[in-house]
């Protein structure tokens, strides 16, 4: 999927800030995702059986993880994440992959094979999907006001966009006479 996205114009260009938008989106999406997580009892499993620490520390860790996951989302999908029609799908797929990576594979490996069961397991899946869905939906709208202005953005005269854009990146070394 990444190579496909890259082939269709992966480069975000000079005016976009996908990682910042991703981090903010990740934080915002943690609200509905967190509600689902708490509602299904999954948060309790995380507090009592996985991290074995206080609720507040677990919540802080989760928020940090959401911001990081959002930042990674922006970094990976960049321009493609701006798609308002497909954003929900990209986000949902990303949430699903995170679900496989985190509670299904990683958590049992780091904590004595503890894996959520019953409603808590449902909560993990639904929370990750909700987080991804909301993040994917929100990203284009969060990103839009963060765009730099085309007229004022730095880099207009840079080697990337100015007349120097056509120069060879590494001119051939002069040959000995």
């Amino acid at each position: 999927m990444i190579s496909f996205v890259r082939a269709h114009g992966y480069d975000p260009g000079p005016t976009q800030r996908p990682m910042l938008a991703g981090a903010i989106t990740g934080l915002l999406a943690s609200v509905p995702g967190g509600l689902v997580f708490v509602g299904f009892g999954s948060f309790r499993v995380l507090v009592d059986d996985v991290f074995r620490t206080s609720r507040s520390w677990t919540a802080v860790l989760m928020l940090a993880a959401c911001i990081l996951a959002g930042l990674l989302y922006g970094a990976v999908f960049q321009r493609a994440a701006n798609d308002r029609r497909a954003g929900w799908l990209i986000g949902l797929a990303y949430g699903f992959i995170l679900w496989i990576a985190a509670p299904v594979v990683t958590l049992p490996l780091i904590q004595r094979s503890a894996m959520a069961g019953g409603d808590a397991a449902v909560g993990f899946l639904v929370a990750f999907l909700t987080w991804g869905l909301v993040a994917g939906l929100l990203f284009p709208y969060v990103h839009r006001p963060l765009h730099a202005n085309l007229e004022t953005v730095k880099g207009g005269s840079s080697q990337r966009l100015g007349p120097e854009a056509d120069m060879l990146k590494q001119p051939p070394a002069p040959q000995p006479v």
Binding site: H8, G9, A86, P108, M115, G118, A120
Partner: protein
């Protein structure tokens, strides 16, 4: 935007796939085969102890929803990646959800069914608990889903040619007052872009490709015009949808065109109106139709009468490409593949162009014509006489449409070719007797595939940039000696676009320095395009990142580079007031 997807087709295909899976599975279960009942497994998570109808309904709804999501995923990320029949594409794709179901989702569903809040089990132990029979059942179900979904999800872009979809009138939105193009002298060098508007038919004339629909211009034309203003572009190559506007002899639907023309006028954008761009209305058929020139002439007259303030026209865009793709390569419209049909298309296109120019001049005597044509060159790969002959022939044939348009006599080889392929002498003399309008600009388009090698088998192969626009356009200049314009260029790799833009600009500077009057430059197009990597031959919906803006209307690097170019050179005296354009407009 990464791909144009037909959401409603994907939803239908996904739902149908999930329901087909359920029907096949239920029949096999009735037949006594011990397979995985995925609907029950899902439904009983939602309604653990409910009656049959409850878990079945919940499970089927959930499974259908999952099927729909996978189908949309397929539509975005998998459809058309393999050049196979749709049903095979669907079958191969189904292996992805099948693997995930077998390795992750089904084992996790088992964990969800238990009452324990925490399980102490390693992930692969859960996987190992799934039997081979269950895995086989899951694979079979996914294959049924994939085959049905794949068979149903086809042609996400375009529409049946006999059922055109006119654009809906734009909604009035409350927004800040639109900015206008900064005022420049009328004779300032033209910095232009274009709205890609091709509308040929494919599949034997049954399916209409419509780039304005595919790129979202019908919905977002107000935004598109604002983007032109934002970049400081004074001119816009714009082709109102002929196939939707011209509905029959004397019958026109101007509703969309009225809106966009009024908006361009208000914003100070000078449109270069492209009246025929690779297609005809369904009622006119294709370019083999001898009635087409007369009909197009009437359309041009009606257009010029309705919008008398418009001065710049491209009556027919890229006649050579249109005739070649329609009647020699078998890709569009009539989809013929013979020399006689090619020449028939050339004759009708060139005649249309001339009649349209004459009709416009009757309404607007000072009209300016940008006769955009593809700049081509053929290089022989070897000194073998047959290879050289083919290259020489193609190097003459590339001029044919413009020769007829500009009344330039063809050489003996081409004259023989015209006779052999059915062009009567009196028709040739008619072309040669026409007076070319004084205000006609020779527009030469240039892309990476315009220079071709005639290989040792005698077939043309794209060479990339061999000699460049300077040399190719120079050959056209030598033949016609008319004011010139670089009327189209772009490159498929978005990262290479700024470099390509500057390269084309240097070509213009060099040819100007050599004394050739060049009046304008065009990056084509404003937004990304759809399926031009395959010449619009199939309705796949793949986005080509060639635009100044992507289909979300976010700027690409080349937009900033173009703005940088205009800011850097725009105030140069010869650009601020281009002598060649001043002379032309006089």
């Amino acid at each position: 935007m990464i791909r144009i997807v037909s959401i409603h087709k994907a939803i239908l295909a996904g739902a149908a796939g999930a329901i087909a899976w359920e029907i096949v599975l239920r029949l096999l279960l009735f037949a006594g085969l011990p397979l995985v009942d995925i609907v029950r497994a899902l439904g009983s998570v939602v309604v653990p102890d409910g009656p049959t109808w409850a878990w079945w309904t919940a499970g089927l709804l959930l499974h259908t929803l999952v099927g729909v999501i996978w189908a949309v995923f397929y539509a975005y990320f998998f459809w058309s990646v393999l050049a196979w029949r749709p049903v095979w594409q669907g079958l191969v794709f189904a292996l992805i959800p099948a693997a995930l179901a077998i390795l992750v989702v089904y084992p996790q569903l088992q964990a969800m069914h238990g009452s324990a809040r925490v399980l102490h089990i390693r992930p692969w132990q859960l996987v190992a608990e799934t039997s081979w029979r269950q895995r086989g059942g899951l694979l079979l179900g996914h294959l049924v889903f994939g085959a049905v979904m794949g068979a149903l999800y086809t042609r996400p872009v375009g529409y049946p040619a006999d059922r055109p979809r006119p654009p809906t009138p734009a909604r009035k939105r409350r927004r800040a007052p639109p900015r206008k193009v900064p005022s420049r002298p009328e004779s300032a060098f033209i910095f232009a872009t274009g709205i890609e508007c091709s509308y040929p038919t494919i599949e034997g004339g049954r399916w209409r490709r419509d780039q304005m629909a595919a790129t979202g211009h019908y919905r977002r034309w107000q935004t598109d015009f604002q983007l032109c203003v934002e970049l400081g572009l004074s001119h816009l190559r714009y082709g109102p949808p002929l196939h939707l506007t011209f509905q029959g002899p004397g019958r026109y639907d101007w509703s969309f065109t009225d809106q966009v023309m009024a908006a361009m006028r208000e914003l100070g954008i000078t449109p270069i109106i492209d009246l025929c761009h690779f297609g005809l209305p369904n009622w006119l058929g294709n370019f083999q139709n001898p009635e087409a020139p007369g009909a197009l002439c009437a359309y041009a007259a009606a257009f010029a009468k309705r919008y008398p303030w418009v001065r710049f026209y491209t009556p027919v865009n890229e006649m050579y490409v249109c005739a070649k793709l329609s009647a020699l390569n078998g890709a569009w419209n009539e989809q013929r593949q013979d020399e006689r049909s090619f020449l028939t298309a050339v004759r009708h296109l060139a005649k249309s162009n001339i009649l349209m120019m004459q009709a416009i001049l009757r309404e607007r005597p000072d009209a300016v014509f940008a006769n955009s044509e593809s700049g081509e060159f053929y290089q022989a790969a070897s000194p073998e006489p047959e290879i050289v002959r083919i290259a020489n022939f193609e190097n003459q044939r590339r001029f044919l449409t413009l020769d007829l348009l500009y009344a330039h006599p063809v050489d003996e080889t081409m004259r023989r070719y015209l006779r052999d392929q059915g062009m009567p002498d009196d028709e040739y003399h008619w072309f040669m007797a026409q007076e070319t309008p004084r205000r006609a600009i020779l527009g030469i388009d240039y892309y990476l595939w315009n220079e071709q090698l005639i290989d040792t088998e005698g077939r043309p192969q794209a060479l990339g940039e061999l000699f460049g626009w300077y040399v190719v356009a120079g050959q056209y200049w030598e033949r016609y000696r008319r004011p010139m314009m670089h009327t189209e260029t772009n490159v498929m790799d978005a990262r290479a676009a700024p470099s390509w833009l500057w390269r084309q600009w240097y070509n213009i500077r060099l040819i100007q320095a050599a004394g050739v009057p060049v009046v304008g430059f065009t990056w084509y197009s404003l937004t990304d395009q759809v399926d031009w990597d395959i010449g619009l031959t199939k309705a796949l919906g793949n986005v080509n990142p060639v635009g100044l803006f992507d289909l979300n209307r976010d700027p690409r690097s080349v937009a900033q580079a173009y703005k940088h170019l205009i800011d850097t050179f725009g105030e140069e005296p010869a650009i601020r007031e281009c002598p060649a354009l001043k002379e032309l407009l006089r």
